[in-house]
């Protein structure tokens, strides 16, 4: 017998979503200014396109896609470093599938693999640890990107490798933490954001409390929202209620998975393995304390230290507007390359590669 997820169909109930849309339209009539709500989770971006959420909203309630796709915010210089790892025949480069087609300055992992480089796609970082265990004469370099959601799984993989006493597993780590980026975007007057649909999965780790400093400092409503259509609609409704009441607080719509304190065990593991560092975000620049670097105690698992990678400055394609798309300043259709030169089959920028990228979502589900 098939087990669907019991609540899933209910949170996709079209009748309910339609009622919610009518309610939102009625509330929006009381707005004195248009509102700009940003989502910073790739799963939200996909869900919003897939379920046509924008078409249900009145003109003065705008949804803006932010830097929620981990592959998209990874700078080209990181891809170049990953490519450099593939040149040593000792190395097996293990990666999530999304990274394969991201263009670096000169090549992509896909092209290098076609040319014979040993690059393996894994579903879980633990699969990369197994690779290392089963290939003791080789070295496995795992490409560790992603937000808190993924960083915790990579921290767990390093702990697993340590307990197996593996000497041939390391991580090229470029993890990022979400609240730091939200702060930069909130302060940007050009974006003029009115509220956030906070990311569901990141929030399972960091908890609702993590957004309180942001909400307090900028008096901006933040609602941790699930990703089914009814969740997204309720998140928007909660943001509207706060806006109309001139409130700026954190609320949790996605209470079935997210608590105020987050997951203490995952936080402890993250803290054990990583320390905050300044890091480069594609489109946003270097943001202070927004990255996670592997701690000195675990240096033997840090590809940066083990491999001493040195790559020339990255080359950006000047026509690609990914940076502006990631900040929510432009939509994919504003990019002259969109759907012509740049398609999921032959992507120019990272936003078109990952299925969660704004350009890829816009391409797939109507422009």
């Amino acid at each position: 017998m098939k087990h669907g997820v019991k609540f899933q169909d209910e949170f996709r109930d079209r009748g309910l979503v339609k009622n919610m849309a009518a309610n939102i339209r009625a509330m929006a009539e009381r707005l004195t200014h248009p509102v700009n709500f940003m989502e910073v989770c790739g799963t939200h971006t996909m869900s919003i396109y897939q379920h046509g959420i924008r078409t249900l909203l009145p003109e003065n309630v705008r949804l803006v896609s932010g830097p929620g796709c981990p592959v998209c915010v990874t700078p080209i210089s990181y891809v170049d470093k990953a490519l450099a790892c593939t040149t040593d025949p000792l190395n097996i480069v293990a990666t999530f599938g999304d990274m394969l087609r991201v263009p670096g300055s000169y090549s992509s992992l896909m092209e290098e693999r076609a040319g014979g480089a040993d690059i393996r796609i894994v579903y879980s970082p633990l699969d990369a640890v197994s690779l290392a265990k089963n290939n003791p004469e080789r070295r496995v370099v795992f490409l560790g990107i992603g937000f808190e959601t993924t960083a915790q799984t990579i921290a767990a993989s390093i702990l697993a490798a340590a307990s197996l006493e593996l000497k041939n597993y390391c991580v090229l780590a470029a993890h990022k933490t979400m609240p730091a980026a939200m702060e930069i975007l909130t302060a940007d007057p050009e974006l003029n954001l009115t509220g956030y649909l906070c990311p569901p999965h990141v929030s399972t780790v960091i908890g609702g409390n993590a957004y309180k400093p942001l909400a307090d400092k900028y008096h901006i409503p933040c609602v941790v929202t699930g990703f089914e259509p009814a969740d997204v609609m309720q998140g928007i409704e909660m943001l509207l209620v706060q806006t109309l009441r001139d409130e700026g607080k954190v609320e949790i719509q996605y209470s079935r998975a997210v608590s105020w304190g987050g997951n203490p065990k995952a936080q402890a593991i993250l803290h054990q393995l990583f320390e905050p560092c300044n890091t480069l975000w594609r489109g946003l620049g270097v943001l202070p304390d927004s990255g996670l670097a592997i701690r000195g105690e675990y240096a033997e698992f840090d590809a940066e230290r083990v491999l001493a990678l040195d790559v020339p400055d990255a080359l950006e394609n000047p026509a690609c507007l990914c940076g502006e798309v990631l900040k929510g300043k432009l939509t994919p259709a504003d990019c002259p390359l969109f759907a012509g030169v740049c398609t999921p089959e032959s992507p120019v920028g990272a936003c078109m590669v990952s299925s969660e990228g704004t350009c890829a979502a816009a391409y797939k589900y109507g422009r």
Binding site: K2, K6, C69, P125, T149, T204, Q234, R256, N263, K265
Partner: protein, 76 residues
């Protein structure tokens, strides 16, 4: 890449579970969860790890609230 899917636990052996959605089964580790989970529980699975338990009571509560606030009469 950040895709995470709600799944139901169908078997459990220490920190390893098998979870299922729409007939597709996947192995996952529950080592990152702070709370105990059991067969029959729903969890969100991401990159081979269960990252959160889905609380059925809260799910029902959210749905009840949605239906209440967004019932046809509720629209003014």
């Amino acid at each position: 890449m950040c895709l995470a899917v709600p799944m139901k636990i169908v078997s459990k052996d220490g920190d390893n579970v098998v979870a299922e959605v729409d007939g597709v089964q996947k192995e996952a580790s529950v080592m990152l969860l702070a709370e105990e989970v059991a067969v029959g529980d729903y969890v969100i699975v991401h990159a081979g790890f269960a990252i959160s338990r889905l609380d059925e009571e809260y799910a029902e509560e959210t749905l009840r609230l949605m239906r209440e606030v967004f019932s046809d009469e509720g629209i003014t």
